[in-house]
Symmetry: C2
Subunit: 254 residues, 2 copies
């Protein structure tokens, strides 16, 4: 948190929001690190894969920082308060999450990318693109809001059929939160049915983005080890040359 104070004390110039999206992380001059993103609905297995990647990168001696969607302390409280009361309209909901994201981005993600870290993001701007669009926000408007955020070096999209993901989630976690289940969209009075429909629409949005946004689409129904090997192979190209040589040998040996 001291870092954040240092940043904000520098004044506005340093945090100027660019008119257009920044270049892909590795192509941008002031970013030395790498940004790796996983996207997919809950139950797609993306967090498990990112966790295993994290372990591998640390094992290789790299500096790693993890960040999650919606985890900022500053606005977490109000988000959950607003959510509880079901008071948020789609626009407000969208902007509140953007605020939360911006806080994390400017405080952690961007400074650490500049410092040369591997930043692993469990959900990124594409989660907002998908959810906010399903809620009825204008897709171009949503994209413009997030235009301050750098494009990831690589985005893995974990695709699973909605029924597989829903089964994974609903097993052992019977109570769904209001917005999580998409209850604000009046899809169904039954929260499980609403959740299914909502998640199905999110998947449609992800599919629509996949080629435009250059997602690496991963089959989330494969076994965990196989998925992780495929993920690590994709990440090889982002490693410093010396590290990549060692890592490549390890991968080949497995």
């Amino acid at each position: 948190m001291t870092m954040s104070n240092k940043r904000s004390a520098k004044g506005g110039g340093d945090q100027t929001v660019p008119a257009e999206p920044r270049k892909r992380g590795s192509e941008s001059e002031d970013i030395k690190g790498r940004l790796i993103v996983v996207e997919g609905i809950d139950g797609s297995g993306k967090s498990t894969q990112l966790h295993l990647l994290d372990k591998w990168l640390r094992h290789l001696g790299l500096m790693v920082f993890n960040t999650e969607w919606n985890s900022s302390e500053v606005v977490k409280e109000i988000t959950s308060k607003g959510k509880k009361k079901a008071l948020l309209t789609p626009t407000t909901f969208s902007l509140l999450h953007a605020t939360d994201f911006a806080d994390r981005y400017e405080r952690n993600v961007y400074p650490l990318l500049r410092a040369g870290y591997f930043v692993l993001a469990d959900r990124y701007i594409y989660t907002a693109y998908a959810r906010d669009t399903v809620r009825g926000c204008n897709p171009r408007w949503v994209r413009k809001i997030y235009s301050f955020a750098t494009v990831p070096d690589i985005t893995f999209y974990y695709h699973v059929p909605v029924e597989v993901a829903v089964r994974r989630i609903l097993t052992g976690r019977p109570k769904l939160k209001y917005y999580e289940a998409g209850m604000d969209l009046n899809l169904s009075n039954d929260e499980y049915e609403s959740y299914r429909i909502f998640q199905g629409r999110i998947i449609d949005e992800y599919k629509g983005m996949a080629s435009n946004e250059g997602f690496h689409v991963m089959d989330g129904t494969l076994d965990i080890e196989m998925q992780q090997r495929l993920m690590r192979r994709q990440v090889l190209s982002l490693l410093p040359p010396g590290v990549a040589a060692i890592a490549s040998k390890e991968l080949g040996a497995n």
Copy 2:
């Protein structure tokens, strides 16, 4: 607050954020009411003028609703918490205020405009344009964020020299808040000096917007009654014909 629940229960379709700004209120098909905005720095006298206009419109038998910048209950708490700790970057600061605005807009302003109210806004999107730009945000980005908000039927900009406004404010209110004084911009270690510089920059932004945004520029140094007469004359054209006839006679008689 019951209205808000009704709105959000309708689902996303109704609150779709348009790609481009809506038309000026009176030109939009679904808006029967009128949106009147005052802008200007603190101490410009804008709130006094709006208050007097409010009394006049009610006297004329019209339905009036007042709204202020930064007054939403839902996010007020977190804004002031963030402000106290001086933890906000310009982007987060901007998005947090946009969230607050969106909440008020969708809950009150827009429904009441549709219901035929005269909505009087003490500060509107132009306050964000000015402040966020001074803080270093990209002007086009800020405008895009607020593109969901309807353009006012009329915007009065109350211009006063910065020294006049600052004298009015600093008399009797010795303690300035951190962000209010623009202390995050590192303009000066003295909060009064910082406030003066900050307000001067805001004025520059307002001036730059005046012709593009079609402001009615008012001389905030004139006496209060004179200013109010000028304001009411401008508002005449927004009144229903029968009411305008009566109001016009009253104004002439004064």
